[in-house]
Symmetry: C2
Subunit: 199 residues, 2 copies
């Protein structure tokens, strides 16, 4: 898995977050999870804050890799693959634990501008991916040229964020939502002749 101690600490941070949540997490918890000492963590990261910035940067790398690797020959297939990656993995219970910790962390953003910058990066990256897919679908004629890729990308990203919040709040599966969003794409985004084929 991890190649070097710094990366192993970040992997351990992920596991410790899932186990303890964010608010009560200590460097000792992470050291225990990494099978190392607090001193060793301090050698790589000055503070818990600095460790979390590095953790979010690592997470951002993985997130962008995962989102960029979505399959699909056409924009519509790419959009559906992306929604599938982001919405249909709820059955994995460790993912709910992780999303819970991320939501705790999100609630700290108003008090921590470095954290807020990182969360903004995630948000903007997702919207930009969605916007590119929508815009290229309009170009190829697969999507209705009345759609506004900027606004519709924001709308989709907001719904995805809401699905993750509801997954934590009420342990609600997003499977039905995925179906509804797929229908939304067919009715709202596809060009008319494409939508007729889909029905």
């Amino acid at each position: 898995m991890a190649d070097d101690p710094a990366t192993e600490i970040l992997d351990a941070t992920y596991r410790a977050l899932c186990e303890h949540g964010y608010a009560n997490l200590t460097l000792q918890d992470i050291a225990t999870e990494a099978d190392t000492s607090k001193g060793s963590i301090h050698y790589h990261y000055d503070s818990k804050d600095q460790l979390f910035v590095a953790f979010l940067d690592e997470l951002y790398e993985r997130f962008t890799d995962r989102v960029n690797s979505h399959d699909g020959d056409t924009p519509r297939e790419q959009l559906e693959a992306l929604l599938q990656v982001l919405l249909t993995t709820d059955a994995d219970s460790s993912l709910r634990a992780f999303r819970t910790a991320m939501l705790e962390l999100t609630a700290q953003a108003p008090y921590n501008s470095t954290l807020q910058e990182r969360l903004t990066d995630f948000d903007e990256f997702l919207i930009e991916q969605l916007r590119e897919i929508l815009a290229s679908g309009v170009d190829t004629g697969e999507f209705d040229d009345n759609i506004n890729p900027v606004h519709d990308a924001e709308y989709l990203a907001t719904t995805i964020t809401g699905a993750h919040t509801r997954h934590v709040a009420i342990n609600h599966s997003s499977d039905q939502l995925y179906d509804t969003m797929t229908r939304y794409i067919e009715r709202q985004l596809l060009a008319d002749e494409q939508a007729e084929v889909a029905q």
Copy 2:
């Protein structure tokens, strides 16, 4: 404002949450805000947990009153008024502080079934309101009879939840989202002849 000490304590809880957040909030903070003693709070509420359940119940009452009082003669007007109430109040900075505290509290739901039950009540109430508006719009012919009120209500509620999370995470105004959702209603939900009038 408050008629009795128990209600005054709940009002003070709201203000203390906005000021201190949820994680670090103590009964002493609430007592200070209510200009009373911790002992007086304990007289009314056995524990911080019990106080928060009462607080959420009170909040639920206010939320249902606010949502039920939405104006509008037709289902479409009712839907737009409801979205306006839920999405276009971001300029109020105390609301962001409150949503931040609520997000912290939401992240505790997986560890606290009583809390999760309350959050589920909020979620179900909002979806039911949206479903009723959509279903009555289908009945009157204002909304397209191809829409599925149950699924579309969940979709709208998920997007509203996401807007509130993004408001906390990245301090993003929902004004543009409100415009996009209004356009979504016009294109996706309205019956065809209504949609043409709207364009």
